[in-house]
Amino acid sequence: MSNASSSTRDNNSSRSVKVVQLRGAISLINTFPALAGVDLDVSQGEIVLLRGPNGAGKTTLLRLCAGLAPLSGGQGFIGELDLSDRAQRRSVRQDTGLLGHKNSLYDELTVEANLRFWAKANRLDPKSVEPVMDRLALNKRLRSVKVGALSAGQRRRTALAVLVCRRPKLWLLDEPHAGLDPAGRDFVDDLLQHANSFGATVIFASHDIDRAQQVANRTVTVVGGLVKGEGPVENVA
């Protein structure tokens, strides 16, 4: 309890540190402006919900913050790193974890083999996957099951395990609740809050607004590649 209180205090004191700063950020997908001049600030320790209709630019915004989508115009910084600089864009990825629409898993490999591969790819100790598998209930029956044979929820859980192994400072999640049953959704919420309690910043897109608003402490509405509104969760209808 005291640990939780102290981490909450730490979070509050770190809120002034900007993790994401976008000013008029434009991101072109081929020639289409998926982001058409986004202004957004996210402070360390925040949990920000991105909402908006399909095609609004939420996924591109997350990919831009991950250093995957190009910054075609405007200014963008993740921490001190400038997204307009290719080398710095690559550096952004070191402390950033992205869970996109897809799970980034190999169907033909088992859950354990996937986790060990991604641990090694991320230059982590392969043994570090054991406690994560325990925590995400992947250590028993599912351990030796090929990912291709898993349900959508179990695949999502495995993908989340990869993310947890990385211990990123900035979590970017695109529809993390998609395909999960209520228990799975509760688990994701707990996971995000747990990461946040240790100082991680979380930005996630979700159509499951009621649930997402229980986790987030700020909501940003994206429409047509622009931020159309933002504010504390309780102020957003």
């Binding site: 995957l68 990825r93 070191q94 799970n103 980034s104 169907d107 033909e108 490999l109 591969f117 230059r123």
Partner: protein, 231 residues
Amino acid sequence: MLRDMWLITVKDIRIELASRVVAAQILPFGLLVLILFGMAISPDLAVVGPERRSVLEEIAPGLFWITVLLSSLMALGRSFAVESADGNLDAILMAGMDPAGVFLGKAGAVLAQMIAVEIVLGFGAFVVFGAPIDDPGLLAATVALATCSIALAGTLYASVGAGLRSRDTLVPLLALPVLAPVLLAATMATRDALFTDATVAGWPWAMLLAVFALLYLGVGMIAFGPLMEET
């Protein structure tokens, strides 16, 4: 770089061992092509000359390498299909793996798979076409160098189409013209390795294959990173 190369190669080979796509699909495809060549070109057609070889025997090197080339396109397509199916290329970028290491790893896995395919296809070609082997050393060098060239150049072009919906049709269109010189050099070197009376000198062609392999190696290691970023 070498660490990432090893990681990717081992992972791709483990995926192949689990899925058996090469063993169950690519290899049978190659054998079928060889048999179809054998059926389309009658073994009774004899070439005029002191050796009295059949037409099938005479053109066996070219037919073998065309078969290898077509089979390799399937292996290359498969190599990048496993990466793009679930968004894994993004995860590789996020992991900060060395692009040159990833390129060499993908090419290494394709190389290992194609060598296995070629051993079986070579045996099949011997049965179907009946060509003897005059210079096993030259043949081994030709197979190794040509397969390296195909794996390296093919991996580079397969990466271009990795993120595209039209990759299945685009990759052969891009790769085949680039691989045509490899086909020519490999065919010439193989002719010298098979026939005692071959009018071509095989080792210079094998050396040319080595130059191709080094060229594709250098270009691939430099270009793969930017290509992955753009895909």
